[in-house]
Amino acid sequence: MLPFRKSRGVGRLITAGALGDPLFQWFSTVVAFGVIGLLVVITVILSLAASESIRAFGLGFLTGAVWNPVPPLVFGSLPFVYGTLVTSALALLFGVPISIGIAIFLSELSPPWLRIPLTYVVELLAAVPSVVYGLWGIFVLGPVMRASVEPVVQGIFGFLPIFQGNPIGTDKFTAGVILAIMIIPTISAVSREALLAVPENQREAALSLGATRWETTRLAVLRYARAGIFGAVILGLGRAVGETMAVTMTIGNRNAISVSLFDQGQTIASWIANNFLNATDPLELSALIELGLVLMLMSLVINIFARLMLGRVLRRGEGSA
């Protein structure tokens, strides 16, 4: 006689897995599908809420430059799309070279003892909440920009229209710089992965041809990893586009399209943040939600593109190994 009690009936079916396995699989599948269902709900709800505005303005919403919350109610998103693109472009301009430099340093040049602590520290940049960056932007970076950086830039490049105007420190330029800082961890981390995925035999091949250290990095490593680095940059762009708080606090919140980087501006995210609670007319609320939908689509397209780039890198890495 066995020293333990045999389970009977349904209990036995569950513990032996005959019932338990399908049950658990079904349960976790339902939950996973539920999560996707949430995505469907998000899309449906947002589309419903924005529908009034979509019906009212159609495609003109994307090209209109006027946001008029009093009758006659007209809402257009162009200034905000413009602001988003300008600040994101600035963010990439400053952030990408620095991020790639960091990635090269950490993967190729850093002495081993420095590598891990330095990686942690760069990750730390990503851990700081956006609103704290905004606070720092208002009270530390902004004044520095106004007193030192922007006048100097204007002194040297002031003949260019993008550097004209009155630099007061809260403007598209400062917002772009803060965004650059915020996307550095993303771009450098993914670039670093791409660089580390380069097989050692590539470096050897270049060295054996008589390449110097820099030539080896350029020829064998960067070139091999370029798709991955490009994907990293696009990911960074995706982050910059959706960033709200730091930008809202440093961009000056003026609804206007202007050429100069030293002028105040607005991004999609900052406009929503500033005006959502102030919207009195339901049409305005609907327009703001439509704006959110536009932002979501922008972010979606950018991230899918990045995924395609990076996916190709991963697949190629397996193929040529």
Binding site: P199, N201, Q202, E204, A205, A206, L207, S208, L209, G210, A211, T212, E215, L219, A220, R223, Y224, R226, R316, G319, S320
Partner: protein, 250 residues
């Protein structure tokens, strides 16, 4: 005639571990020299010291002399040495983001050659010397990684030859290839001796017998014996050599 490469009491370490010890060896010009021995005997380490690739590994170091035409290889800049002594690796490593043409031209471009005509000529000649021209002449734009294993290895040989080195080092170039590809490469090695000095590391004794003029036998980091290939295989002087050749250990 002075040897093309002369090593004098060459030793090399990986960190604290000594890989080769006091190797004094000559490699004749316009000849193929083979280095044979069981796994771990230091064959790869030895040739990597010749073109100063050994020192690219962290904590690796070498002592002793390596002379190229009486010039001290360790007194010259490493980059110069590697342009004069080329290398082909065990596993073919073409640059996958570059076309066949660009792969072969890579070394020349590094040397500052920009003239398209010069590059065309060099690519053509190198691919011919590597016995690959006929197979790829219509698809020079295709990626270097799109070729078969044997073709990729011949591409790497072409790439190494394009910079016109004086010496070509080959580290078990056929060990990852099938017999047909191996045969093609052995044929081309045989032809290369006209213009180059070739040093080939192989764990395959029959291969050494087929292609090499001189063979050196290494065991546990030491040079046991070196002689003309036929003489080494038919009348080895050391018992250790004889045991290895007759397959008593591998």
């Amino acid at each position: 005639m002075p040897p093309k490469i002369h090593t004098e009491k060459l030793s090399a370490w990986y960190g604290p571990k000594r890989a080769i010890e006091d190797i004094t060896l000559d490699f004749e010009e316009h000849a193929v020299s083979a280095i044979i021995g069981p796994s771990g005997c230091g064959k790869s380490t030895l040739i990597r010291c010749l073109n100063r690739m050994h020192e690219t590994i962290p904590k690796a170091r070498a002592e002793g002399k390596v002379l190229l035409n009486d010039e001290d290889v360790y007194a010259l800049p490493a980059v110069t040495v590697r342009r004069r002594i080329g290398m082909v690796f065990q596993k073919a490593n073409p640059f996958p983001t570059m076309s066949i043409y660009e792969n072969v031209a890579a070394g020349l471009r590094l040397n500052g050659v920009r003239d398209r005509d010069k590059l065309d000529v060099a690519v053509l000649e190198s691919l011919k010397q590597a016995a690959l021209w006929d197979e790829v002449k219509d698809s020079l734009d295709k990626s270097g990684a799109s070729l078969s294993g044997g073709q990729q290895q011949r591409l790497c040989i072409a790439r190494a030859l394009a910079v016109r080195p004086e010496v070509l080092l080959m580290d078990e170039p056929c060990s990852a290839l099938d017999p047909i590809a191996t045969a093609k490469i052995e044929d081309l090695i045989f032809d290369l001796r006209k213009d180059y000095t070739v040093v080939i590391v192989t764990h395959n004794m029959q291969q050494a017998a087929r292609v090499a003029d001189t063979t050196a036998f290494l065991y546990l980091g030491k040079l046991i014996e070196t002689a003309g290939t036929r003489e080494l295989f038919e009348r080895p002087k050391e018992t250790l050599t004889e045991s290895y050749i007759t397959g008593r250990f591998g």
